[in-house]
């Protein structure tokens, strides 16, 4: 008899004898303390990170130099006499100056009013009223040319009404008696269509009822409203009769006050109630409190974001049920309503189990099995034969019935 094995079968690893593979925790090359710090020192951090820092500095330098050396080009300002972009109107302004017309670019109602008080009559060219008080503008006497539909149109030209159908901007014929338009001929017009007061000159009709140029005389001077300013831009000025129309409308010899949108419009500068903006109304503490809240948020983020040690990953074994293929086959049977195959499997299983019980050899034929089974259970041989070797069931109910009948026969054989 060999040495007793019972001792080594006791629970617990210690009783399992000398283990074949053990780790005593000290790997050769480790410090004598059995542990080694793994966090990087300042020096190693610098050594590993200096290339990245260098690259970062280089990228920032190139970006800063690029911005400093690039020509100053802000966003395009539409219909601005100082803007050379495609949407600007520098070309028209230069043409006007070349004809001796003085062009004064202003960006506020106050400046326009100041110019109006000095010297003789002027033409006020209004391209944008978003940041000015239209009532102050309306009070300025003299001729005015309004380009496009704008918020203050009702105050600036109360006699003009806009047509609900906008007109596509395209080359249009003047079809009116206004000399400035007739002389210019076809021009790139469209945008908003207007209805003028009686007696007004209506040119460049839209497909609907309205016209895209309305000119009429009022008490202080002539008011001209144009649906769209495209014909005045650097892009379109050379086409059609655009330049001629613009020069005829603006270049009447009088100095031009050219009102444009402010260079750096700020929402806070929008005139509010009693001239106070939103930031003026907020107490000083709110702003600083928001800053402090941001700092507190950053501190909390650093607190929560610092992990205590690394994330430990693990290769887990695959989780798969062994019965999955069988379940899959069952679902295929269901999906295809494979009654024939299902019935075959059930019958074969029953025959396989019953054959030895009926005292037959494993290779016994169908006739023998049916005869033996009918004799044993007392069932009708035809019915037994139909159940075991008959045609496949016609529907699901027949399949369930077949399974129940097979079960019944198996039970009878095992009980008898």
């Amino acid at each position: 008899m060999s040495a007793p094995v019972d001792g080594s079968l006791a629970p617990g690893g210690a009783a399992l004898g000398e283990p074949v593979v053990t780790r005593d925790g000290v790997v050769p090359g480790d410090p004598p303390g059995g542990s080694a710090p793994t966090s990087p020192t300042l020096r190693s951090t610098w050594r590993s990170g200096r290339l990245i820092v260098l690259l970062g500095v280089l990228v920032v330098l190139i970006a800063v130099l690029g911005v400093l050396l690039a020509p100053q080009r802000g966003p395009s300002r539409p219909l601005d006499p100082a803007d050379t972009s495609l949407a600007g109107s520098r070309a028209l302004a230069e043409l006007l100056r070349g004809r001796g017309v003085q062009v004064d670019r202003v960006d506020s109602a106050e400046a326009a009013a100041r110019l109006a008080t000095t010297g003789g009559p002027r033409l006020l060219l209004i391209t944008d009223t978003a940041y000015v008080d239209e009532h102050a503008l309306a009070a300025i006497p003299g001729d005015r040319l309004i380009v496009g539909d704008m918020p203050g149109l009702a105050a600036l030209a109360p006699e003009v009404h806009t047509d609900p159908d906008p007109a596509r901007t395209r080359s249009r014929e003047p079809e009116c008696g206004l000399p400035a338009a007739r002389a210019a001929g076809s021009a790139y017009m469209g945008g908003t269509a207007f209805h003028g007061p009686p007696g007004a000159a209506l040119c460049y009709p839209s497909t609907g009822e309205g016209h895209t140029l309305v000119s009429y005389a009022r008490s202080g001077g002539t008011t001209t409203v144009v649906g769209d300013g495209s014909f005045m831009t650097n892009l379109r000025l050379a086409e059609d009769g655009n330049a001629a129309l613009a020069l005829n409308l603006i270049g009447t010899g009088r100095p031009v006050t050219w009102l444009v949108r402010p260079d750096n419009p700020q929402v806070a500068q929008l005139p509010g109630e009693r001239g106070q903006s939103l930031t003026d109304l907020l107490p000083d503490n709110v702003r600083w409190t928001v800053y402090m809240a941001l700092i507190a948020l950053a501190v909390t983020a650093i607190w929560r974001g610092r992990r205590l040690g690394p994330v430990v990953t693990e290769r887990l074994p695959v989780v798969v049920r062994a019965a999955e293929t069988v379940e899959g086959r069952g679902r295929l049977y269901r999906a295809r309503r494979a009654r024939q195959r299902a019935a075959e499997a059930l019958r074969a299983g029953t025959v396989d189990r019953l054959t030895p019980r009926l005292g037959l050899a494993t290779g016994a034929g169908g006739q023998e099995v049916v005869a033996a089974l009918a004799a044993r259970t007392g069932q009708d041989p035809h019915r037994v034969g139909a159940a075991l070797y008959g045609p496949p069931p016609a529907d699901d109910a027949a399949l369930v019935a077949l399974a129940a009948y097979l079960d019944l026969m198996e039970r009878q054989v095992s009980e008898l």
Binding site: L16, G25, W288, P310, P317, E327, G330, L346, A403
Partner: protein, 457 residues
């Protein structure tokens, strides 16, 4: 470096202060400067983490289902007290607790932390890293650093079937010399001569010895000994399938159990892999065979040799086996039966009992083992043991609705395949053990005892 919740709280209080202060700008600057100064003070006066020394001791072996303890001694040779938290990071299936321990080590002293491991699956579990966060005196900021303090605990198979061992050993003793058989039969060999006592079969009297001794002497017989048993474990894809109910909850027994990717709608996948049930059966067989005086070798194979235990002495056999089995996982490849037969034939020169633990899967067997079976069966006695799936048996008995009858038909089909392959194996002279997971170990032991009693080893 790390900040604490206290720093966040101070910053949050700063919000209130700035909101109420008459000069909010100055208050903000003051709060921030104060906080920054306090953090710098904390970082300066916190105990250094880098010079810490960590020593480990404790268990290196544990059976699955049992608890291991690993001690971690933190030695602080630095000049300041190290107060804060320590995390000993183990893989999730090591089941290490506590996850984070508070430590307070005065300068020049050492403190012990006990980490208990409740492993949830077999294999080697190694500590990944130890991270220490040392708080400053104000508790606003901390120094943080990592240490590598390697330690590996090997989680062995649980050998649950050892409860069946005493009854099988009793059966063995019936066959063995302690209950000597007086009748010579197949599978027995001559044991000894002893004096005749009344009741002994007169046919067992050794007349030649009786003549020499002037006394009536009978021969006694005992079962043959010193046979060879080679246990072959198939670690291919079919052994990854899970069957039965896990006696010890296993990691991954439910998909994403507690993990970040946990799917609440996923059905729990019960059971152990076939591989683990097979290991359990192999251990019982090995214990029994070693006790019966046979030489037991062990081979794990899928497309390459995963483990080999050969020529282990009887006392060391079980510990060698569990150590060899511990790291084996089922590989998701089709097992190479030809290579396995070659490996068996090259290792077993003498005739022996080859016990192949695999799945009796019709398709896999037809492709793999069946063509090469004659090579093996002609040289050795082959016993194929397969763990059947009780879930399939339950499916085959269902009759509730048409859908369940379809399922039952599919299960019946699978069982037919299994019986067909079993019959083919038996015709080829191979012993077959096909049992549900809970019964495979005793069934295999009984098959071995039957072979032993029949003297077929």
């Amino acid at each position: 470096m790390a900040l604490t919740g206290r720093a966040g709280l101070v910053a949050a209080l700063g919000i209130v202060l700035v909101m109420l202060a008459p000069q909010p700008g100055a208050a903000l600057a003051g709060v921030c400067l104060l906080l920054a100064a306090a953090i710098v003070i904390d970082l300066t006066f916190a105990g250094a983490v880098r010079p810490l020394r960590l020593h480990r001791s404790g268990d290196t072996l544990v059976r699955l289902g049992q608890r291991a303890t690993v001690e971690l001694v933190v030695e602080n040779p630095g000049s300041r007290r190290v107060r804060g938290v320590l995390r000993d990071a183990w893989p999730p299936s090591a089941g290490a607790t506590p996850r984070v321990a508070r430590i307070d080590v005065p300068k020049g002293e050492r403190r012990r932390i006990v980490v208990t491991l409740d492993p949830t699956r077999r294999g080697d579990r190694s500590s990944v890293a130890v991270t220490v966060r040392s708080l400053g005196p104000l508790g606003l900021a901390a120094r943080q650093g990592g240490h590598r303090a390697p330690w590996t605990v090997r989680v062995l198979p649980p050998f649950l079937s050892r409860k069946h061992l005493p009854s099988r050993l009793a059966r063995l003793r019936e066959l063995d010399g302690q209950h000597p058989a007086l009748v010579r039969g197949q599978g027995t060999e001559f044991d000894s001569l002893r004096e005749y006592v009344v009741g002994d079969d007169v046919r067992s009297i050794d007349w030649r010895a009786t003549a020499r001794r002037h006394d009536v002497v009978v021969r006694t017989w005992r079962p043959e000994r010193d046979r060879r048993v080679l246990i072959v474990l198939d670690t291919g894809r079919t052994s990854a399938g899970r069957v039965g109910d896990a006696p010890i909850p296993m990691a991954g027994a439910t998909p994403g159990g507690g993990g970040l990717l946990a799917r609440p709608d996923a059905r729990p996948v019960p059971g152990w892999p076939r591989l683990d049930w097979s290991m359990d059966a192999a251990l019982l067989l090995a214990a029994l065979a070693a006790r019966a005086g046979d030489q037991v070798d062990f081979l794990a194979y899928d497309r390459a040799v995963r483990a080999w235990v050969g020529g282990a002495s009887r006392t060391e056999l079980l510990s060698s086996l569990v150590n060899a089995m511990a790291p084996i996982e089922a590989e998701l490849v089709e097992a190479d039966a030809q290579g396995m037969v070659a490996a068996v034939l090259s290792r077993a020169r003498r005739r022996c009992l080859v016990v192949l633990l695999t799945d009796l899967n019709g398709a896999a067997m037809d492709e793999g083992l069946m063509p090469v079976l004659p090579q093996l069966a002609s040289r050795h006695l082959l016993l194929v043991a397969g763990v059947s799936d009780p879930r399939v048996a339950a499916m085959a008995a269902r009759r509730g609705s048409a859908e369940e009858v379809y399922d039952a038909a599919a299960a019946e089909h699978a069982q037919l395949e299994r019986r067909r392959i079993t019959a083919r194996l038996r015709r080829a002279g191979v012993e077959v053990v096909d049992a549900p997971p809970e019964d495979i170990a005793p069934a295999l032991a009984d098959a071995y005892l039957a072979l032993k009693a029949a003297g077929r080893l």
